[in-house]
Amino acid sequence: MSEKIRVLLAKPGLDGHDRGIKVIAAAFRDAGFEVIYTGLRQTPEQIVTAAIQEDVDAVGVSILSGAHMTLFPAILKLLRDQGGRDILLFGGGIIPDEDIVALEKMGVAKLFTPGAATTVIIEWLKQAAAARTKDDKLL
């Protein structure tokens, strides 16, 4: 894939813990991705509107407040409703294993937990984005 991966990073809900997402943003930038960071306190509606307007390949969401079972499904639904079905939704935060299983079953592409290396996340996104592009061509 020759084109740069475009990724929107977002903090939904009321959570203000932004250390993780800023580290990810810096690591993605250094890995050559195009990074758009929304800043704090974005509603699912704002995140999805921005993702579609910016025509991103992926949306990365960070939630450390325990609201993940409300916010991920809301973003997922809006992406599907508003023509962003092909945008990868991934995320990270303090999320118990059983919730990860449930959310990934719903359609969240991947969830990372504390301690995940940025190199692993970058590698995953490269592969997931490449697989997605291949799917597009098949269509």
Binding site: G13, D15, G16, R19, G39, A67, P114
Partner: protein, 555 residues
């Protein structure tokens, strides 16, 4: 040690030792550095320790500049307060947890509020969806605070409340609970975090812009001086700055710089520094680097005492004392092999104690996974009790004083903080630095560098980038189920129906006009709270006057 022959001999022997050591293994690590990334020497000696400066730089415990501790007898006279930050779900669930902790030997309370409460939204607000009771307890009205403190005598317990943007409202509720229990406000003891500056810098739970926020704080300081004299009005917090990724020196420098800003605001508002300064307290992080942390606490006391006396002209000795709470570092805990967090927390707690903390929170091992379970919370409390009663560290004061290394680190971290104070001044002060994102950027840079050090394996985090296993985590997790939000909204609706809504409307209107003028907002807020106005309604009464803060997204 001014005798020349000694130093000649010392220098000679040291040079020889330095060259001899080349013959031995230099170790496998590329660098030897603190958690903050500062290089550490292999051996410290008396050449870096000037005994003749002892009285000036260290002195005696309970005496200026308090490097060795703020009390004459320290832990012999009074042990630190064991204060576990706690709160979750409904007010009734939190009340239950408090009774568990108090029965377990805890000596003070520390209330964790949920995100809607921290941000000034009621539980039935759209933005509260999914967040109710999750990161702390949900509070909408005075009724919730009555439930939280049911069966707890406010005359006997001291309570710390981690609340910032809406701090006045929660303090008002606490005062009103006291009134209902028959405890006058003069008898209440405790601490409000009420540190909005570090919210803009690191923790990011704000409502109003800086200027009106500072007014709320100075109003509260003035009110407490008259009515709640034993209350610590601001807990100037480095904890969140550190958690956001700052180094030890940045934590120290930015926190003290915030402290100076509050002192200057108080003086500017016409208050006597010796009236409000004794009620300021601090809150620091206890991270993994044992000696660096101890040096940080010692340097903090010395810097604060000197500035308060020499720069701000405080005459009352109590204004010079840097009293502080410590919490072990949440960001040092790992989701992998979570039981290891017990050991991390114990070492961190020990550094806080050796650094002379006045109160302590020890994190629970399961906090990277969920809110702590009853068992995990009790283990964390027991960790403090073992340090207190079994290790012997409380017997003597500041036992690491005179350690060549610790004194060197203390001086070094003090110098690093002073360099930051100069830079912050050069940039026009803390508020200007926040506005321009300088402090936020400095912290984000440190956080990124730390992460890269881990990924390059310059740092080993046990269970994360070494000693990795793929065993399943098997510790029971506490979950906040959906019934919490339903119950909380239902109870809020009951209050809205049963209270005197005319009185509520009147007190809220009075608050708005008070905010427009220059009356004391704290008094007006107390009137609203007493008639069961909700937190969201009170914030909404202020919002049109004060406006809202938004942050430019920088990384």
């Amino acid at each position: 040690m001014s005798d020349k022959p000694f130093w000649e001999e010392y220098e000679k022997r040291r040079r020889k030792w330095d060259s001899d050591k080349e013959k031995y293994s230099q170790g496998s690590r590329p660098r030897f550095m603190t958690v903050s990334g500062d290089d550490v020497g292999i051996l410290y000696g008396p050449d870096g320790f000037d005994q003749s400066k002892y009285l000036d730089k260290l002195g005696f415990p309970g005496e200026f500049p308090y490097t060795r501790g703020i009390h004459h007898t320290m832990y012999r006279g009074r042990l630190w307060t064991m204060r576990q930050f706690s709160g979750m779900g409904t007010p009734a669930q939190t009340n239950q947890r408090y009774h568990l902790l108090l029965n377990g030997g805890q000596t003070g309370l520390s209330v964790a509020f949920d995100l809607p409460t921290l941000m000034g939204y009621d539980s039935d607000h759209e933005r509260s969806r999914g967040e109710i009771g999750n990161c702390g307890v949900a509070v909408d009205t005075l009724a919730d605070m009555e439930t939280i403190f049911k069966g707890i005598d406010l005359a006997k317990i001291s309570t710390s409340m981690t609340i910032n943007a809406p701090a006045s409202i929660l303090l008002a509720m606490y005062i009103a609970v006291g009134e209902k229990q028959g405890v006058p406000s003069h008898g209440l003891t405790g601490t409000l975090q009420n540190d909005i500056l570090k919210e803009y810098i690191a923790q990011k739970e704000w409502i109003f812009p800086p200027e009106p926020s500072i007014r709320l704080i100075t109003d509260l300081m003035a009110f407490c001086a008259d009515h709640v004299p034993k209350w610590n009005t601001i807990s100037i917090s480095g904890y969140h700055i550190r958690e956001a990724g700052a180094t030890a020196a940045q934590e120290l420098a930015f926190t003290l710089a915030d402290g100076f800003t509050y002192v200057e605001a108080g003086i500017k508002a016409g208050q006597d520094v010796d009236v409000f300064a004794p009620r300021l307290s601090f809150f620091f992080n206890a991270h993994q680097d044992f000696f660096e942390e101890i040096a940080k606490y010692r340097a903090a006391r010395r810097i604060w005492a000197r500035r308060m006396r020499d720069k701000y002209g405080a005459k009352d000795e109590r204004s010079w004392l840097l009293r502080f709470h410590t919490q072990t570092a949440g960001c040092s805990l790992t989701a992998q092999q979570p039981e290891n967090n017990l050991m991390r927390t114990a070492f961190e707690a020990l550094s806080g104690v050796l650094g002379g903390t006045q109160s302590l929170h020890t994190n629970s091992m399961d906090e990277t996974l969920a809110l702590p379970s009853d068992k995990a919370v009790l283990l964390a409390l027991r960790t403090q009790q073992i340090i207190m009663h079994e290790t012997g560290v409380v017997n003597t004061i500041d036992p690491l004083a005179g350690s060549y290394f610790v004194e060197n680190l203390t001086d070094k971290i003090e110098a690093e903080a002073e360099a930051y104070f100069d830079e912050i001044d050069r940039r026009g002060g803390v508020l200007k630095c926040i506005e321009e994102g300088y402090l936020q950027r400095e912290i984000a840079k440190s956080a990124y560098r730390y992460q890269q050090e881990i990924e390059r394996k310059e740092r080993i985090i046990v269970g994360v980038n070494d000693y990795v296993t793929d065993e399943k985590i098997e510790i029971p997790l506490l979950r906040i189920d959906e019934s919490v939000a339903r119950e909380q909204v239902a109870s809020l609706n009951r209050i809205r129906k049963s209270r005197d809504n005319d009185k509520v409307a009147r007190t809220l209107a009075d608050l708005t006009s008070c905010a427009k003028g220059d009356g004391n907002t704290m008094k007006a807020i107390l009137d609203c709270v007493r008639v069961y106005a909700t937190e969201g309604e009170i914030v909404d009464a202020l919002r049109p006057v004060f406006g809202e803060y938004t942050e430019p997204p920088i990384f």
